[in-house]
Symmetry: C2
Subunit: 216 residues, 2 copies
Amino acid sequence: MAVAQKVFFSVSMSLDGFIAPEGGPYGQGGATQWGELQQWIFPQRFFRENLRLGPGGEEGRENDILGATFARTGASVMGRGMFDLGERAWPEEAPFHTPVYVVTHHERGPWPRPGGTTFHFIDDGIEAALDAARGAAGSRDVRIAGGAATILQYLNAGLIDEFTVALAPVLFGAGLRLFEGVDAGRVAVEPLGVESTPRVTHLTYTVRRRQAPSPS
Amino acid sequence: MAVAQKVFFSVSMSLDGFIAPEGGPYGQGGATQWGELQQWIFPQRFFRENLRLGPGGEEGRENDILGATFARTGASVMGRGMFDLGERAWPEEAPFHTPVYVVTHHERGPWPRPGGTTFHFIDDGIEAALDAARGAAGSRDVRIAGGAATILQYLNAGLIDEFTVALAPVLFGAGLRLFEGVDAGRVAVEPLGVESTPRVTHLTYTVRRRQAPSPS
């Protein structure tokens, strides 16, 4: 009966390991690369509806994957940088429709949006934000939404159970690397599944704690 | 009748984009990471036979992939660094069994080995080495064997037709990146195939030249 709640992340990554262009999605020259990275998402019906971009869109397997990732998510956690970018980009009806916990150093009261998203600002660390998200998610999972630095903090702290990388056929050359600074001595991964859809390859991994080397 | 000869590379890459540990496969602390990266290859019958490690070994799909990569290769090109490492590590009967062209700055006469491998040292550039390899390969393909810097030179010069990355479920954190310094403004990739085998995911891409942006 009790299916264990999972903490996961799900991102699109270039073949050379970047999840955002240099300067971010909206930076100088970044829009083209961002578009190439996310090009499996933009045409999907789920994405278009959720971002209030209008009717229509594709309804194949890529749409199903987006829908399933949304459906499993009971609460999200994000870094302050991602929130700041999103605050300018999301529609008034923000696309989460669940509680979202923003890891920040600045106190701010909850910010409820139409459509069920409420942003909560947590200023006492990543574990506190995750605990709050776990409590709010009920029987659903907690998504660490981003950005890269926030995902890496959770990964290195051993707080991620599994993740999916949608590997896009594009080379960035520069930008924000997903795994920059990973504690490779502690974080091990195990393949859980691979699925190719028309535009990307979805790679899912379970995260394990490596045994610390025994003192010699 | 005439199947076009292809120039390709085929490497194992960590999930965070490295194809060798810091300091190389035989460097300090590199052996464990190297082993994890190549762990789909070492148990295979083809690998054991080709490196004269003795009889036995696995004979599943991973073994077939190694055999097919070998069989399509009529000649190889490698950088001086890879040759220097290999010269110390390969058995007397070097594992290529075809001509191998080494890109170097040092003149040296051909070095034939038992079993059909002959190393030719080319000191007038990567295109000259590739031309020689193309001529020697006959109807078979030319493999750019490595290392990372040599592969990247060919990739950026527009001389690679396709490549396969065996994506291994391991994070390195540091080391030699496959795509470090890629000319992302010129090199585009297109997925050609994905295959999961028990230990790794084999991702094959065709390389295309991006259109240079038109002058404004």
